[in-house]
Amino acid sequence: MRWVTAQPGRGRAILLGALPLVVLAFAYIVAAAARHSDNAADKILPLPGAMAAAMAALIFEADPLSGQYLFWADTLASLTRLGLGLGIATASTLCVGLVVGSLPPVRATLGPLVTAIAVIPPIALLPILFIVFGLGETAKVALIVIGVAPFMIRDVAGHIAALPREQVIKALTLGANSWGVILRVALPQAMPRLIEALRLSLGPAWVFLISAEAIAADVGLGYRIFLVRRYLAMDVILPYVAWIAILAVVMDFALSRGSRRLFGWAHGAAH
């Protein structure tokens, strides 16, 4: 057997994939136990029991001050911001990316602008967004949109522009006009790429969400993490980070499955 050709089966692949996670968790517990044997009140590496207790309070008990279940309120607030931001970014990518990719004159007009916006670090725009939109939800959503939309537009427009010229010519000989080419040739072929761009944007979108929440918010996953940091509450921070990871993985998985189901032709597999 050579390593470069060894293909693990499905069951074995899952096992292999789980292995590093298990090792990591085990290493954490060993380290946490070691710290707790030195100092029973250690807060840096809380034991799983302490994390469960701290999280139970946030998940199952209403906050006496606000009457909210904080964990769920944070999750809802963050997912709403993320969903709005990514939704607006995706919709604008579809509109702008499609015309920029399909119509060379529009590409010549808007391409440099999109590139210029894409190279600005979005966090540098956050103060401007706070000044313009105030400290409310709008600025946070706007940060996500500005952070991911230019990248997505460039990616989708580039993909459409790189479609074989023959396809456009063929569509024209079939009686299409420019609109017909956009609608029936460019749009369907842009969709799988759009989902791919969205998947790649999930990471940056979470970065912008947490950043915005850390700076100015009163609810949200990022807000909570940065709030409890003041009390060194690793028993809340670690589960929150794990929760964010789970949410991100679920979104990525759902997008990937959705794309395979809806656009099987783009994934090369049997349909």
């Binding site: 000989t173 009686g175 017909g180 072929q189 032709w265």
Partner: protein, 267 residues
């Protein structure tokens, strides 16, 4: 009168002359093969006739009317590759031409119009031997099947001229032979006018009723771009000339094996 006339056509890219003084009359119902060495402007000539490129000088007329320098449904095309749309099934690819012309805004058909279009598309797929593959995507088909689909897709628009740009160049020899039989049959049955660019001299002679050879007449070794290619041989293979019914009134219709070709008011 010739269906397609090229008069004193020049194609130049800046200093580089690709085609010079091309004057051709292509008769209706002919199968013209164009051969020539690489870089002799075979594909440029095809692109000009297709409307993808504008000639630097000269005029092209189709049925006596000047041809606008843009692609339209009066000229169908099959390229060597990328002729079919990967996101549509065989049936979807064939329907597309009917959908574009029927509804310029949605480019889709619904209800009874769609059912009629589907039966027309299925009849066309039957002709090219893809009736059983109608729900496959191009990626699931061989190169030969994809080219069959590309031909069906183009023919459903009833183009005045079918342009083939090395359509069988990427196929293996056995499949290529089947495709030759197919295109010859379709040409006869539908009364097509075909212009085919090919690298394969044998193919050019076995399929064509007329073989054009493009090459440079003159060559300046110090300025190789100075002279373009022209038609150096123009061979009529008369024994194969297709029987075209005599021209009649303005709305003459010819019934060929259940397929109606509107020879005059087409598109």
């Amino acid at each position: 009168m010739a269906l397609l006339s090229l008069k004193n056509l020049w194609v130049e890219y800046g200093e580089k002359v690709v085609l010079e003084r091309i004057s051709l009359d292509i008769a209706e119902g002919s199968f013209v093969s164009i051969i020539g060495p690489s870089g002799a402007g075979k594909s440029s000539l095809l692109r000009v006739v297709l409307g993808q490129e504008k000639p630097t000088r000269g005029t092209i007329t189709l049925d006596g009317a000047p041809l606008p320098p843009e692609c339209g449904p009066d000229r169908g095309v099959v390229f060597q590759r990328y002729s079919v749309f990967p996101h549509l099934t065989v049936l979807g690819n064939t329907l597309l031409g009917l959908e574009f012309s029927a509804s310029p805004f949605t480019a889709r058909l619904f209800g009874s119009a769609r059912r009629a279009a589907i039966s027309e598309a299925e009849a066309m797929l039957e002709q090219v031997g893809l009736a059983d593959s109608r729900h496959l995507y191009p990626a699931q088909m061989s190169g030969g099947m994809q080219q069959r689909l590309a031909i069906a897709q183009a023919l459903i628009k009833r183009p005045r001229i079918l342009l083939l740009d090395e359509p069988f160049g990427a196929l293996d020899p056995g499949i290529r032979k089947d495709m030759h039989a197919l295109i010859t049959r379709l040409w006869r049955e539908h009364g097509l006018t075909i212009i085919m660019v090919t690298h394969d001299i044998k193919e050019a002679f076995s399929l064509g009723t007329r073989v054009l050879t493009l090459d440079k007449r003159r060559h300046d070794p110090h300025a190789p771009q100075r002279y373009g290619a022209a038609v150096v041989y123009d061979l009529e293979l008369t024994r194969k000339v297709q029987h075209v019914p005599a021209e009649a009134g303005a709305d003459e219709q010819v019934e060929v094996d259940g397929i109606t070709i509107d020879r005059v008011g087409n598109n």
